[in-house]
Amino acid sequence: MKNLTLTAACIAALMTAGTSAVGQERGGVMTYGRYADSLFLDPVLNDANVDIWILSNMYDTLLLPSADGKSVEPGLASEWSVADDAMSVTLTLRDGIMFSDGSPITVEDVIWSLDRARNPDNGIWNFLLASVDTVTAPDDKTIMLTLKQPDPAIVAALTVFNSAIMPQKAFEESEGETMAEKAENFGTHPIGSGAFVLESWDRGATMKLVRNEYYWADGEDGEKLPYLDGVTFEVIPDDATRILRLQSGELDGAELIPFARVAELQSDPSINMELFPSTRVQYITMNVREDIAGEDNPLSDPNVREAMNYAANKQAIIQTVTFGVGKPMTTFMSSATPLATDNGPLYPYDLEKAKGLMAESEYPDGFTTSILVLAGNQDEIGIATALQQMWSQIGINMEIQQVDNATRTEQYREGLFKMRVAAWTNDIADPGQITSYFAYSPTIDALHSGWKSEEVDELYEASQSEVDEAKRGEQYARIQEIFNTTGPTVPLYETPYPVALQEGVHGFVQIPLGNNIFRGAWLED
């Protein structure tokens, strides 16, 4: 039996990584400035990052993602193991775990929660648990998942927000005739298993969380986590106002600092400008179909795409758009993704080579095309403006079209766009999700680009049930090689999460998947 169990001592060690040697102080409410309010606090039925990135503070999962986002730690389950045939997972629940209302977390709650999360009618995340056949409880401390086929990502999937454990009884007692209506009512005053519990929520303005007295984990000082009495989220959509509020001392932390302001805040002695490693990648998607709406599409020519990749000066874009905060990509997925390859930066800037490739292409005299950017988004506008100028050097005349998100998504889904600026963040510590969207054509036609590689499709399908880590690594290496050399994207850069904190804030992390973790945060007096 291949045992993946980690001991509690290990998490303690991991949790302290990055925090200073000063002793943790207890108490206080941390005020955190967010760019947008959450929409719907249901782990299963939500769809947006504004929910996902804070949900884990209210709802705990059986297993937890590590602070570096690459491995798994114990959560509500203290131990877990995958069977030798990889057809089942067994987990042991901690003793004495309780929901925020003080009622015990039972195996029935776990079974109900996981069954709800994997129900194909529920939300958009059930695919993460699609390999699960049954969830059962051999005894009142043990949970057993049997699988339809081996799934190398199943352990990571149990750390994802949608597999959070919810109280069946309280949920079912919520008002509403359908499960969806119950979820809507439950989500307005949830009873959870996370380190914090929702106290009040003034939509569009403030969300107040208070500490969950029944949370299971111990802090460094031997007492129960969290250290904080509470967390208050203030919604401040304007970047400049958010920073101003932080500088005036009204906030303890502020997320999504514009890259243009990072250096300025780094030089501010009272502010700790954090750049948390992320899985965020920024790239251009190209529609590679032979023709778009009846017109010949130059982007279908691999030489053209390669030429554009070489003509894009990523270093210059990293400087002008991210002010040096970003770094060049070595593969289409972020370097923080498990199994990501690194053979040096992709397509180093080489204008001569690009011109040669254009000369060899079917469009030696260049062509006219267009790119969609999100209206009013200065980063995307900056990228498109820079690329417009860079690609004009190889005879490509690119028009910039600003559209709103829904319009862009529609053109994207219908395959009518020519190019678009895009960004991606992983939701699970596994390369499967990003590869499914980017390269595996049955999911969304490889980013709706129309790109297709039989070999990639086969490798991806095989990798989905390949539990031999080394073999899976080889499969992913080959997928990345094919996609990186012939794929429908222009990889630009990866960036960290820029979060500004007051000097006296410690122990807060935003993990590479984006989750804001407050359970280990504490305020210095």
Partner: protein, 310 residues
């Protein structure tokens, strides 16, 4: 007068029906659907179809319109697609914030515009006039997001006289929080009002009847009150009523910069999120609000100039 009010309220009905139809059609004409807006790049066809089915958006447009009209007639504005809350509750939560902001902005612009317009008009083409007009011009010409940030930096972060954004708790705290945003919003309106009022006062001053009155030996003060103020205010009031809609619209960027959870921000978020029920409900609510403001300014105008009601 009651008859006049009743007539005006009756006139509101066709206006609202027209707005209802237009907004229903307009939101559905927009490219993209709620599912695309919510899911963004994660959208998979199956999920988009499921969400549209759940929302009843897979039905033909006439059927959707009938459902909409039926529920609207019973006072049910539906539920927000993105926020999962009743639209009526959202409006009740958010609209009063924007109303207070707009009201404060309107009062501030009148307080700034009326006295200064008098000074400017009486000292026409002399230094006080130039300074007043120049000052208002600078205020008028600066984009709201820029003025807002400057005010926040100076009076919020540096001097600490006002909070850096937010809305606060309790009425007085709301007023305190909304002061800087209201000033920001008032700048362009006060400039427009001031210019118009100044021109109107000069027009009245130039007209002969003021000289007539003077020759009859009336006190200067009385001339000002009786003739200038009344005549000048009539056109200003018309402009003021017209501007309320713009002011409410201008609240969007102000609310964003000052982090105020008002109806303007809700409207923009809902348009971008293709949250049809919210856009529909809020549009109608705003229309009622603007119409009532019109009615009030018209009543005031009628009081100042009784011929208007005829």
């Amino acid at each position: 007068m009651p008859e006049f009010i009743a007539r005006r309220l009756l006139q509101l009905i066709p206006t609202l029906i027209f707005i209802l139809v237009v907004v229903f059609a307009l939101v559905r004409l927009l490219p993209g659907d709620p599912a695309s807006a919510i899911l963004g790049d994660r959208a998979i066809d199956a999920d988009v179809e499921r969400i549209n089915r759940e929302l009843g958006l897979d039905k033909p447009i006439p059927v959707q319109f009938w459902v909409f009209v039926k529920s609207f007639a019973t006072g049910n504005l539906g539920n927000s697609i993105t926020l999962k809350l009743p639209v009526s509750q959202l409006i009740a939560d958010r609209l009063p914030i924007t109303m207070l902001l707009t009201f404060m902005a309107a009062v501030i612009s009148l307080l700034m515009a009326v006295p200064l317009a008098f000074v400017a008009a009486l000292k026409r083409d002399r230094p006080p006039d130039s300074i007043i007009r120049g000052g208002f011009q600078v205020g008028l010409s600066m984009p709201v997001f820029y003025v807002g940030l400057i005010l926040l930096t100076i009076f919020g972060a540096k001097l600490r006289w006002f909070p850096v954004g937010g809305y606060g708790d309790g009425f007085l705290d709301h007023v305190y929080h909304l002061f800087l945003p209201a000033v920001t919003l008032a700048l362009s309106l006060s400039a427009i009002l001031m210019r118009n009022l100044r021109a109107a006062i000069i027009g009245v001053l130039d007209a002969d009847y003021v000289s007539f009155a003077q020759s009859k030996g009336l006190a200067t003060r009385l001339i000002l009150y009786r003739h200038i103020l009344r005549n000048a205010l009539i056109s200003t009031l018309a402009l003021f009523g017209l501007s309320i809609g713009t002011l409410l619209g201008g609240a969007v960027i102000t609310e964003t910069v000052f982090a105020i959870p008002g109806a303007g921000r809700l409207m923009v978020d809902s348009i971008y999120g293709r949250d049809y029920p919210v856009v529909q409900g809020l549009t109608v609510a705003l229309a009622v609000l603007v119409s009532v403001t019109f009615l009030l300014t018209d009543l005031l105008q009628a009081w100042l100039d009784p011929r208007m009601t005829k």
